[in-house]
């Protein structure tokens, strides 16, 4: 292949690769294209990308090539990463949240009883993310804290109110109609 045919292919490969991609790996993917050709194209690509004044730069890292953002733009990148706190929950947190949503108000011992697993760290995550809030103490021995879902929870899952939680009948609707 010519250098100008190779360059876009190399760029695409580096873009999708999770690890720095070595010349040798690229050669294998391109059915034994000569290593020298690939190296020449990759070096030219580095220069091209630099000359573009784009937001990205291609670098040799750990014996391979990698695409990164330009260091001078790191301030903006950092802001983005900070602004995108994960809208994601672990399975443990999700299960705990599901139990709380459907059985609220509920205490931690009651959650354990239903899930069969200790969920304190999950409860903490949910509290931190404000998906659940405390709803006072249960009037039993030990006065354990009661938890329920928050307004944040409704927003996160796009619900108007708790009555919009799917119920068992809806599910049966789906599998049996």
């Amino acid at each position: 292949m010519t250098t100008s045919e190779l360059k876009p292919i190399i760029e695409a490969l580096i873009f999708v690769s999770e690890e720095p991609l070595s010349v040798k790996q690229i050669a294998i993917l391109l059915e034994d294209e000569a290593v020298e050709n690939i190296e020449a194209a990759a070096d030219e690509l580095i220069e091209d990308i630099d000359a573009r004044e784009s937001g990205l730069s291609m670098r040799r890292i750990a014996g391979g090539y990698r695409l990164t953002t330009r260091p001078e733009l790191s301030e903006y990148v950092r802001r983005l990463l900070k602004s995108q706190p994960s809208a994601r929950l672990s399975l443990a947190a999700l299960e705990t949240l599901a139990v709380i949503a459907y059985k609220q108000p509920i205490t931690i011992p009651e959650i354990l009883e239903i899930r069969g697993k200790v969920s304190t760290s999950a409860v903490k995550t949910l509290l931190d993310r404000r998906l659940i809030v405390s709803k006072g103490h249960k009037q039993v021995v030990g006065r354990p804290m009661l938890y329920g879902t928050s307004k944040e929870f409704l927003i996160h899952f796009g619900l108007n109110d708790l009555s919009e939680l799917p119920n068992l009948e809806d599910f049966e609707d789906l599998v049996s109609s």
């Binding site: 695409a12 873009f15 999708v16 690769s17 999770e18 690890e19 695409l67 990164t68 990148v77 990463l81 994960s86 809208a87 994601r88 929950l89 672990s90 399975l91 947190a93 999700l94 299960e95 949240l97 599901a98 139990v99 949503a101 459907y102 239903i114 899930r115 069969g116 899952f157 796009g158 619900l159 939680l165 799917p166 068992l168 599910f171 049966e172 599998v175 049996s176 109609s177």
Partner: protein, 265 residues
């Protein structure tokens, strides 16, 4: 008809004429199942006969439609309820068209008994077209790859959730809990809903349960009644199917698997 069977085809299937072709039954099975539903079969027949969708020769199309159904039956392909329903509709339209028109009534096209069917076919065809375009778009889109993970992604190994997942997860938690407590419940006097849950669980585990086994395991008259009522309830809810493979044979309780639902309604 299960989804799996139709995975491979978009657009109108290639199907040879009805009975008597020399393909094996197995090939027929594959081809016939491509008819997603009665409307697909009708559209195919209309195209094959090269007739206008706006002026369908109902007698001819109905005859062909019924012929296809009988081929499907002969080959032991479960003919889903909606195919039979359409057959009834076609026959009804046919007989209405045979009725002499009131000579005094104004000639009105809106009275054509075929109108509703034509409308349905047109709608169906439109969505088929849209589905085709979606398919093409997904193919192109599937060829464009997103970047691989970069360092900043590492702190996010979790899964994103929708309300349906939340619900699914809740059901799983409940199922797990049910499995643990089931043993305890068995010793107590059962309620109807517990009995239903137990039957469901049994059927889900082994796919099919002999009704006789269920009854003979009962330890009291009350439990027999509960099992009986529970079964009726489950059948009504369409949670299980009762099957008798031969006359006077065992009555089997089977779970309704996803892909069977369509075929049995």
């Amino acid at each position: 008809m299960g989804e799996a069977a139709t995975n491979h085809s978009i657009g109108l299937p290639e199907l040879e004429t009805g009975t008597g072709a020399n393909s094996s039954g197995e090939q027929y099975r594959v081809k016939l199942e491509i008819f997603e539903g009665p409307l697909d079969l009708l559209l195919y027949l209309i195209k094959k006969e090269e007739v206008s969708i706006y002026d369908i020769p109902i007698a001819r199309i109905t005859e062909q439609y019924l012929e296809y159904l009988s081929v499907m039956k002969e080959l032991d392909i479960g003919v889903a309820g909606e195919f039979l329903l359409m057959a009834a509709t076609l026959i009804q339209i046919k007989s209405r068209m045979l009725l002499p028109r009131d000579p005094l009534a104004p000639k009105d096209e809106a009275d054509d008994p075929r109108n509703e069917l034509v409308y349905q076919l047109l709608e169906h065809q439109k969505f088929k077209g849209a589905a085709n375009v979606l398919h093409q778009r997904a193919t192109i889109e599937g060829a464009a790859y997103h970047r691989g993970a970069i360092e900043s992604d590492g702190n996010n190994p979790e899964i994103a959730a929708t309300i349906f997942q939340l619900f699914e997860v809740f059901r799983q938690v409940l199922d797990r809990q049910r499995a643990i407590t089931e043993i305890e419940i068995a010793r107590d006097e059962m309620t109807m809903s517990e009995k239903i849950a137990e039957i469901k669980l049994l059927v889900a585990r082994s796919g099919q349960v002999r009704a006789a086994d269920l009854f003979s395991a009962a330890r009291s008259r009350r439990e027999i009644v509960l099992i009986f009522l529970g079964l009726l309830e489950l059948v009504k809810e369409l949670a299980v199917r009762l099957v008798q493979e031969q006359t006077f044979g065992d009555i089997l309780i089977r779970s309704r698997e996803e892909n069977q639902i369509d075929a049995v309604v």
